[in-house]
């Protein structure tokens, strides 16, 4: 495990982005949300989100259900389209293209190109049930990256061993426990070598005794320090331990953000305090609200 991160004191008002603290080649953020809003019909799920995430930064997003935190990262994975605003990944616009100096909605080809920089692990794992574990992990490298079979398999085996499932290559998803399936899902996403990894409540669907093995994998990825991670989670202890920055979302806005010990020990806003008080600083994670 790498050494613990230096504690950083930052501005605590939302919307103001912290100066780049980690090694950053270009100085530009890895992910940038500019005035992003999302409404489903009449329901406003996200309101004017402005957010910069630095390269290799680890951000944990917390908040009550319905706060929009899942929608926030789904838009980055191109699973939901923003109603307004722009999202940039590594300097490139995601949902838009610049044509003749104007912003136009992105074509499918452009979406696919930028999407490659992002990977996601889902709450329900979403493994392909009709494929063995090895094939689950090699399928995308083979058919999306166009890698030759030996290389795809080598990468897949390496990644599966890294998550501790090197001996399950020939099994089907249904034969594995929830924790094992989720670890395969993580391997499947990582093997594509994205620049940003999104984790959507990846332990919420697991039995309590299986949560630890998945969090251990996340911890290891975080410790390696070369992956930008956005983790939507209810696991407060985990977030406190692993994240560089905590985002508290409620009612579609970023109510408060800051380093873990600032948010958890000294929350500024009333809503943050109310939300955190439900967790009572206990090591037990409450069921999803």
């Amino acid at each position: 495990m790498a050494g613990s991160r230096p504690l950083k004191r930052r501005e605590l008002s939302s919307g103001v982005n912290p100066p780049a603290e980690k090694e950053n080649q270009t100085g530009r953020p890895m992910v940038k949300y500019s005035h992003v809003s999302k409404a489903f019909g009449k329901l406003k799920v996200l309101r004017d989100i402005n957010l910069d995430i630095e390269k290799n930064e680890i951000v944990a997003v917390i908040g009550p259900s319905g706060s929009g935190k899942t929608t926030l990262i789904r838009m980055l994975m191109t699973l939901e389209k923003p109603s307004s605003g722009t999202i940039e990944v590594d300097g490139e616009l995601l949902w838009h293209e610049r044509k003749n100096g104007k912003l136009v909605p992105a074509s499918e080809g452009h979406l696919r190109k930028v999407r490659r920089k992002v990977g996601m692990v889902f709450q329900q794992f979403n493994l392909f049930p009709h494929m063995k574990i090895l094939r689950n992990v090699t399928e995308a490298p083979l058919h999306v990256l166009g890698l030759p079979r030996e290389e795809a398999e080598a990468r897949a085996v390496e990644m599966l061993e890294k998550v501790g499932l090197g001996d399950k290559l020939d099994a089907y998803p249904a034969q594995l426990s929830g924790g094992q399936q989720q670890r395969v899902a993580i391997a499947r996403a990582l093997v594509m070598r994205p620049q940003v990894m999104l984790f959507d409540e990846v332990t919420s669907a697991l039995d309590p005794e299986l949560v630890g093995e998945v969090l251990a994998v996340l911890r290891e990825i975080a410790a390696e320090g070369d992956m930008t991670m956005i983790i939507v989670t209810h696991e407060m202890d985990f977030a406190r331990e692993v994240a560089d920055r905590i985002l508290f979302l409620d009612g579609g806005v970023i109510v408060e953000e800051g380093p873990p010990q600032a948010i958890f020990n000294n929350p500024r806003h009333k809503r943050t305090r109310e939300f955190l008080s439900r967790f009572c600083n206990s090591p037990m994670t409450p069921a999803a609200i």
Binding site: M77, T78, R115, R116, P129, H130, E139, V144, M192
Partner: protein, 229 residues
Amino acid sequence: MAPIIVGNTILWDWEYAVQIFPTLLAALKITIGATLLGFALACILGLPLAFGRRSACRPLTLLTGGLVEFVRSTPLLAQLFFIYWGLAEFLGVTMSAFTAGVTGLGIHYAAYLSEVYRAGIDAVPRGQWEAATALGFSALRTWTNIILPQAIPPVLPVMGNYLIGMFKDTPMLSAITVVELLQTAKIIGTRSFRFVEPFTIVGLLFLLLSYLSSLGVARLEARFKRGSA
């Protein structure tokens, strides 16, 4: 064997039955051929229809939906007549009765299979589509490697039942002059003035083959139920 006689009527003439059996078996081949070709056509045509009904383009969904509804609401026999005599006259082409028959069976059952495909595709969990998007799969790959392999196996038993249904519908082809099993029996019967043996044998042949096939379908269904989680 002596014929079975009741009163003044011959109930069953064994000698005659044995005599006509080979001819009927030969005609059975035409029936089976029409069934298999018609079903292959239906399987193939059903897919674009299913895609059409699920598409985002509204005129397309309405068009294919209307087409499927129309085909399912009208008798196969009428459709066969329409294709063999009506379309041929309209387009100015002549097609063989067998071709018209197979086409009619194919189109009719494609409408039913499109519904079956649709149900199978809709049953694939949404998360599978999202995982495919997240990993960057193209639309084509998503269909061929992820969605269809999960959509089709559960509906194979239903497709099997439609195959059996098509087999039992083939006698209709006799109405557009295809000399299949039933027509052959009718010809034999008309020639010898005895219909009991030909039609009963035909009935038994249909019964036997459909029953065996339905056992096969039941086993397919059981195997799928056992194999899935």
